[in-house]
Symmetry: C2
Subunit: 367 residues, 2 copies
């Protein structure tokens, strides 16, 4: 049927789905999860001020959202001490990554990332006909040296790095990241995914001028601000690049309610601080649970902990499946040798209690 043929790039894409969501898994199993610890959501929840702002905004949902996100952009501008022209709000980092690839990568151009890093970035690169080149992790961390070398070899258009890293929780110093900019080839733009930045030590966050033409940074309200379901993130970059998003983005694409929630969340710095503390405590708790079960937790600068299960990917997968059967939703890295781990998101005490109770049973069931 010629009518139902897809355009060439879309026709070549797999029909697979990048992530199966927890609701889909619950429908498959027929039972709700008692520990929702797999998607790096923030189970401590958003600021009550954000919840209140969204509830208020719901009555005004008949209005399209402000296409400029003027107030949110202004607040972000004040927070980061940069001009609004250096900020582009969007429908989460996922949405912004898609726009960035579309804006900058011609079909056939090469993009460099790490084998095992964020799959949704890869999904967008493939989705716009880019060619992915992956370098291995080194010591459970994305490897700046290998990324830079590959960028030179392949004349990469984009180089992706998440700091802190997902799924391992490892991180580099801000100085190492800043040094990467000097090492990049002239063809390459660094895509610095800082989704987990608010959980990281201060010295993991590089000082970079917003107008630096070598990098675009991505931040989100989905993690520390607890608004994953609201779909708001933002990019920070040189004004000439940021302005390019206006050529292709859905100008009225960010929910009005979500804009109100993000603005209120941003202004509640006390809430953010106590979230940071709760997440730090939860990381320690998850590590303790791992140790009690003879497993090793990896250091993490994010709101999750990778637990080394000490065997291969098949074993970790079996453990994950056993946990799921017992109502605990966690995920795991997709690539060896990181796939010896399971990844457990920080969450409230009751959910970590459930994990603590389920883990030894799951391990025992595997013998």
């Amino acid at each position: 049927m010629t009518r139902l043929r897809f355009a060439p790039i879309a026709a070549a894409l797999p029909a697979t789905v990048p992530f199966v969501g927890p609701e889909a898994l619950e429908r498959q199993s027929g039972a709700p999860f008692r520990g929702r610890l797999g998607a790096n959501e923030n189970g401590f929840g958003p600021s009550p001020r954000a919840v209140e702002a969204m509830a208020q905004a719901a009555a005004e949902a008949w209005k399209y959202g402000d296409s400029d996100s003027h107030e949110l952009r202004g607040a972000l501008s004040a927070l980061h001490r940069i001009r609004p022209e250096n900020i582009m709000p969007g429908e989460g980092i996922d949405g912004l990554l898609g726009l960035l690839v579309r804006l900058t990568v011609a079909p056939g151009e090469t993009v460099v990332t790490s084998d095992g890093a964020y799959p949704t970035f890869n999904y967008h690169v493939a989705g716009f006909g880019g060619r992915l080149h992956k370098v291995p992790y080194r010591d459970d961390a994305e490897d700046p040296t290998a990324l830079i070398a590959a960028a030179h070899d392949r004349q990469a258009r984009l180089v992706y790095l998440a700091n802190p890293d997902n799924p391992m929780g490892s991180w580099h110093s801000g100085r190492r990241i800043a040094a990467m900019l000097d090492e990049l080839p002239g063809t390459s733009l660094l895509v610095l995914d800082e989704a987990y930045a608010e959980f990281a030590p201060d010295d993991a966050i590089p000082e970079i001028a917003a107008e630096d033409p070598r990098v675009i940074r991505l931040r989100t309200f989905s993690k520390a601000y607890g608004l994953a379901g609201a779909r708001v993130g933002y990019a920070i970059g040189p004004a000439a690049l940021i302005a390019g998003f206006d050529r292709i983005r859905n100008h009225f694409g960010i929910s009005r309610i979500s804009q109100a929630g993000a603005l209120a969340a941003l202004q509640d710095r006390d809430w953010l601080e106590q979230i940071r503390n709760q997440v730090a405590a939860a990381r320690i708790r998850i590590a303790a649970i791992a140790t009690e079960n003879g497993l090793a937790a990896l250091p993490s600068a994010a709101n999750f902990v990778a637990i080394d299960c000490g065997r291969d990917g098949a074993f970790a997968r079996a453990l994950l499946d056993a946990l799921a059967r017992d109502g605990i939703f966690v995920r795991m890295p997709g690539v060896a040798p990181m796939d010896r781990c399971i990844r457990v998101s920080c969450g409230p005490q009751a959910e970590l209690d459930a994990f603590a109770e389920a883990l030894p049973k799951a391990l025992q069931s595997l013998g």
Copy 2:
């Protein structure tokens, strides 16, 4: 700077913005609008059940939304008596149109629409490198015969038609739309934008099997359901085409709060019915205001009325500007001869009262 160069399609796009939103206009003028009647929003508001559902969902905004929109899809399936596989929810019709063009139109392929029809569709076609061919309106309506002829001449990949039409409010019978499917060339898919369907007479809505491979229909929660700011729409089409969206869409892109609101809005059929009645009454009121001022309202099957100002586009533009200075936000068609009109959205009595008071003053100010 090679780093900041855009990919070829993006590089060729204009840096202009398709629509300036009312908030941006308010910031320019420094005063809020007292009549927000320009964006075909539904000022009568969403169902209180939808508002309540969104307020409840706000507290759970830390969870990503269900990537399958399972409940919403199920409810839509029941409403339309079609399979969930024939339905794709998305971030409004704007978002779905972008995905559809990306999925089906290769760069350089031709897409047919009407000169003066929905600009955001054109924005997406240009945005993915499609070639637009526009046919004129006929008697203030999109012209099925001309669209079909152009589709044959140009071997069009997509043919866009909105029924009812925006910006004129005109409509065709469902039989005429269904007949278009038989007249389409084998290369073409009809993009039937039914954003305003709930306001139209029953016989304007064609009976089309969901699996008909010749057409994809688009519906929205932004108009009759009063949820423009929530960003939820849906496509109805053959399962093979609908499944294609999974290759490229942002799987977690629809706000969790918005999904809850759309589901609750869909279930409140009484509210929808009274919205229809209020909109019908507002259309009559807007027509009466036009008549009182010596202008002619065009018939409308949508939630807005085009008022023929009896002169040229420059006059209508001046009238629109005079109204804006007096706090009334309306829009107008962008193309002659429809640009002799201004387009006034249906809204609550107080806002129409404000329009009724402002219109004669604005006309008088133009002499």
